[in-house]
């Protein structure tokens, strides 16, 4: 394979604590060397003024295939990932049918290989048919390549099943990813319960519904020694619970989505279903707690919970419209504009939460620019100003809450396994 030199860029690789201007040589799909001078390489990329980062990883993506191809396919979802700067995604198994067998895992892997866009890692179901009753064949699923287990879309409800999952997964050193929500407290809810839901007369989903489940999961992780990853954290209470659990040495990690550090429940005043997601947009104090959790390291990962829904589904009345928003193509711009430019995180910290940290949570051999690693590279133009135009999305769906927003910073060039897969 051709030799590719990425020169004159600011290379930021948190996995090696690198942040300096240098040249990176890619050879045979791997990172080959640093500080190589520009001198007759077959291909070069001038990264002057840009950031050269490990390929970004999104560990919470709904690719919808099989079963809901009207919303997204593995091909369109991974194309959207590339356009957003992600070289790897982990897909969530709430498909139809759910991904709970080796054959299902291999189907996703085959479709991803055919699409040949971003790398796809499969998160498989904790329970058979995602019913929350019996453990799925976790050993077989690991053998097929599943990297973690969840019933997301729904919480793992039965605490006994959760305990067994923690215990069983330790044989394979795989984490359990849970959607923390006590459903009795959120029945019929469409938005965060607070002053805005009171004014609008919309049924609420109280923050306590998330905190009670977060608390339960931490207690069970502590009791079993299992690895807990709390998905899409959104409340001040849960951030504090995770912070305390970490100081006690419990094996817990967590992630946050851009909409939970940029938007509040005030958005629902428009009654636009593109602001309806679960967990819901919370209050300002929760947004501030999520940012504080990112800053002090309580929150390890930034993910998108990319949840595409065809337009006709989101055009419904608020209670009939499904939960969820797309996120792959706006996440990097939102991180750049609302975390880095506002001084909450510097670029190395932001990139850490989008590369090596997600790789560590799922145990992926990714997220690093070490010599010998796969040449998955995202070149970021931190100064690029752009406007979110859902008509230009690669995703099959356009259910974004950010239409028309002006953002600064985006992926300029995305390289997967040494091959340039996307250029802005």
């Amino acid at each position: 394979m051709a030799r590719l030199l990425i020169h004159s860029g600011r290379v930021i690789d948190p996995s090696q604590k690198i942040d300096r201007l240098t040249n990176v040589l890619v050879e045979d799909g791997k990172i080959a060397a640093y500080d190589v001078p520009l001198n007759g390489q077959e291909k070069t990329i001038d990264a002057t003024g840009k950031i050269v980062a490990p390929g970004l990883i999104d560990i919470h993506v709904h690719l919808r295939e099989p079963g809901r191809e009207e919303d997204e396919t593995i091909r369109t979802g991974t194309a959207a990932a590339l356009a957003g700067g992600f070289t790897s995604v982990a897909c969530i198994p709430n498909t139809e049918p759910p991904i709970d067998t080796q054959a299902q895992v291999e189907f996703v892997q085959h479709q991803a290989a055919r699409a040949d866009n971003a790398n796809v890692y499969v998160v498989a179901c904790v329970s058979k048919n995602r019913e929350g009753k019996e453990l799925s064949e976790i050993g077989q699923l690991v053998e097929a390549g599943a990297v973690a287990f969840t019933d997301d879309g729904a919480p793992i409800y039965n605490p006994e099943l959760m305990r067994r999952a923690f215990e069983y997964c330790q044989m394979f050193d795989k984490p359990i990813l849970n959607h923390a929500e006590v459903r009795e407290l959120t029945q019929g809810g469409v938005m965060h319960e607070g002053l805005v839901s009171l004014i609008l007369g919309l049924p609420g989903m109280p923050a306590a519904a998330e905190d009670v489940m977060t608390s339960r999961d931490i207690a069970l992780a502590n009791a079993t020694g299992g690895r807990l990853h709390i998905m899409h954290i959104s409340t001040a209470g849960s951030v504090e619970l995770v912070r305390r659990a970490k100081t006690r040495g419990i094996r817990v990690t967590t992630e946050v989505c851009p909409h939970h550090f940029t938007l509040t429940d005030e958005c629902l005043r428009t009654f636009d279903a593109n602001f309806k997601m679960s967990p819901p947009l919370r209050a300002q104090e929760d947004v501030e707690a999520c940012i504080a959790g990112l800053v002090d390291g309580t929150i390890d990962v930034i993910c998108t919970d990319h949840a595409p829904h065809a337009r006709e589904k989101k055009m419904r009345e608020l209670d009939a419209a499904p939960f969820g928003v797309v996120g792959l193509e706006t996440a990097l711009g939102l991180v750049s504009t609302f975390l880095v430019a506002k001084g909450h995180l510097d670029w190395p910290a932001a990139i850490e939460k989008m590369s090596i940290n997600p790789a560590r949570v799922l145990g992926l051999p990714k997220g690093t620019l070490q010599v010998g690693a796969d040449a998955d590279i995202t070149i970021i133009d931190p100064g690029a100003k752009w406007k979110v135009d859902p008509r230009k999305f690669r995703s099959k769906s356009s259910n974004t809450p950010y239409a028309g927003w002006e953002l600064t910073g985006r992926a300029d060039t995305v390289i997967v396994g040494g091959r340039v897969k996307y250029t802005a």
Binding site: Q187, L200, L202, T270, L318
Partner: protein, 325 residues
Amino acid sequence: MSTTTLPPDAAATTWTRRDLLSLEELTAGEIRLILDTAVTFKDAARHASHKVPLLAGKTVANLFFENSTRTRTSFNLAARRLGADTVDFSPSGSSLAKGETFVDTAKNLEAMGIDCVVVRHHTPGTPQLLAQNLNCAVINAGDGPHEHPTQALLDILTIRDHRGDLKGLNVALVGDIAHSRTARSNLWGLQKLGAHVILCGPTTLVSKRWEELGAEVCHDLDQVLPRVDVVNLLRIQFERQVTPPFPSVREYALLYAMNKERLALAKKDILILAPGPINRGVEVTPEVADGPHSVILEQVTNGVAVRMAVLNLILGGGRAARPQS
């Protein structure tokens, strides 16, 4: 929220809105304009023979996705007494039953030359959704627990008929505040006109957070009654409750039903309103509902006048109300 720059107390002289979606977004001046206009329609509201054909040639569609007797009939009569044609639509027996979306249904109706859609729906925000997707006028006739602007306007008109100015009046809204669109619209309208609003009901149905909007919250009706000029009794909305908010209807009635004994605690000239339908024996006993303090039937008459006013302001070119002769 408001799009006008008038100070809250200035009387609006023209109507500029295409839709009536909520009272939260109206100014005090706009509310007074509707009430003053309604007064000019009172005769026509009471008598079928007094037609005022200001809206001849216009068509009003009633889209009711929830059951309604009063409001639907009231809007129908209001439109007809202004000379407009009306068309009634209900979801059963329509293409909605075949899976057509709500917005598509409304767009199809609009394509048949509708000037105004009056919509009732169980989901908050559906009038806004329609207003964003249609070119014709949209009037909210009740969207879930969110707002019911014409109900609050007719309540306020009824109070004004008896008390003149609303300023300084103490008005208690009693009952299922959590699920009541009438409570929300009344709260905004009454506060904008200078009344003090007390929300009263069990803690499970009346959140302390209402205080952040300037209302007083009290859970003891007997403590509230001696100091209010008006009490508006809201229906317990059993159909909207996910889990029962109180142990039994019996216990609710013991604590909150407006009965003879409670009436004795109240001011002598207290006005008793109820937006209807009422659960007799739950929110109010028959002797009170039918007694001398009750203005429940006046509310119904005022409902037609208020809806004529709203329809005429929206469809009739925004003419100013003429003072009553």
